[in-house]
Amino acid sequence: MRLILIAFSVFIFIGCSNDSDPAADKASFTRIYDNNKYNASFYPIDIKQTPDGGYLILGGRRIDNSSFSGIYIMKVDEFGGFVSEQEVDETFVNPIAPLMVNGGNYYFFCMTSVGLQTQLFKLDAEGILSEPISVGGSYPAAAAADGNNFALLSYDNFNKQTVVSVVTPSGSITQSKGFSIGAGDAVEEPIINHFLRTGKQIPFLVGKVASGQYYFNGFYNYTLSLAFTNLNADEPQGIVQGQQDDGGLSQVIPLDGGKFALARFNFGDNYFLPNASLNTSGISSSTDLGGNPFPELIANASVKIIRVTINSKKVVLYGSDTKSKQIALLGYDESTGEFIGSKYLGFSNPFEISSIVSTTDGGLAICGTTYVAGRFPRICLFKLSEEAIVESFQ
């Protein structure tokens, strides 16, 4: 009888072991944030994990009073559960990535819908917005954290210039340099179509390399180019030229030792270069960089790259969109560029990547757009556990 009681106790002990597991629920989940308005359209731009374990998502939305995208901000909890949303006033449009963290707050650039003047918004970890600060300039295209300041790439449609600026969190421009895109409306057309989201999405980028040089991926001298500048000289010190708007770099992440993790596109084809060298002080062509071709990706695919550490190994993780409408994650050894693994997200409905971030639990959060019922653009969030990442990229 005693043995039966022991067996019964073992039953209870083991049987209870698969009860709800909050740790597992946080570590791994998939969410699609749905709005039941038939003509609503939302897409994410960037995501950041907040100190409470939740996530802040900056997004865009279809609005009625402007041809540009409106601003959408969503806060979700550590389980991906919806907490709050803000559909920011339609006088502000065209939010751009990334959400930049500075002093415990989150910043992003956008512009006014009428004057097209660049604005800097600050929000807290709950997604509560402060009043915007007018920065000046127009058409913000890309941004990056730059120490305690922000690097901003914008388009000056009056002077037809690509402008790189350094902006403080209070909205002051401390440095700025403009570079001519070339004369004529034909050069400007793809830029404006990018902002209106009626044409090809140009991979505008800005950042800083270890040497102190700034780089930007934007139009210079009639061509989409990756240019390196000290923000003093009138001409960039180094230029990697693309093919007007049909070719160029689609993503650039500086690595250690002057190397770069790159992605490039050329007339629809996509190439990854996980451990590339760039000429930062001369003129070169992106087509000469070569790289691994990826016919599985959509034409001129959007590419996101982050540096992560998986099993004590530095890994460069690429995320992009496949022709089968999945999100592809491809991992490469940072030091050698060797391919180490892949993971595909999404099925049934189309999925497109917007942002990848590492999470404090060693996992990844991948934010993207899905088309619910094959038609309604909605924000989706994949949270991958550390175990799942190790399994895919070890």
């Binding site: 009888m1 073992v10 039953f11 038939y38 003509n39 559960g81 999404g346 099925f347 899905t370 309604f376």
Partner: protein
Amino acid sequence: MKRLLPLLLLLSITFAVNAQQKKKKPGGIASKPSQQSKFLEKQFWLGFKAGTNLSEASPIKRYTVTTPTNYAQALNDKVYDSFSKTGSQATLEATFYYKGFSFSVQPTYRHSRFAYSNKFQWSNPDNSAEQLILNYHQEQKVDYADFPLIVKYDILRNKIRPYVQAGVFYSLLINATKSVKISGTDFASGGTNQFANQAIIVGAKDLFDNYWGLMAGAGMDYNLGNVRVVLDVSYWKSMSNISNAANRFSNDRLAGIGDAQDDLDLNNIVISAGVLFPMRFLSNSFKTLDR
């Protein structure tokens, strides 16, 4: 560890049976029963039975992929069918009978089915033609190896022997599949377009897990010559989550259409019929069971 549980069960019942046997050594009995009555005080039975089962899954905690931002989550909640899908099971029964009580192990292969449905709707208040309704119907088929430890009590000890039974069981997952049928009405196609897509069928073993539970029921034995025909009905209630909490979002095909596995209790009504054979002193000259 979970895999050792059936072995533990078998060992424990074996020890329990041995213990019963040791206690049954003949001693000084005031009124000596007849040989036949004494013989009938204990018996080993071995047999098999099979039948059908009805399942009910009830959510312990609900999970979802599709997370509403401007309407109530309850509008999308899954509605679980209750005891509407029939499954089947086959059981080997080994029972030790002693003075009206029976101690039984009944390893069972069980196939159960349960279903749920939910509904999504998008509309434009300014234009009634802009409306889409989607209905998701999801059916789960789970195969388990059940290892119950059951105590029965015979209410009557005649040729027809009604009994009540109760016990505990542990269920090992063998396989699981899930099929999703999507149908809907699209009012934005220039008319009313009712459609039904082909079912998506996926392997879902990763979404489920082993579990344990309690059972109780009643039945009836009918002694037919040297064999015993059995019919019983029992209610099996899971006491732990049958879902695999770590894998609820792991199936991209299901997550892609907005489905996530809830934490679930699985309850079954199990109806079985079969036959048992006595294993002790079985002979043609002595009808052990005609009592």
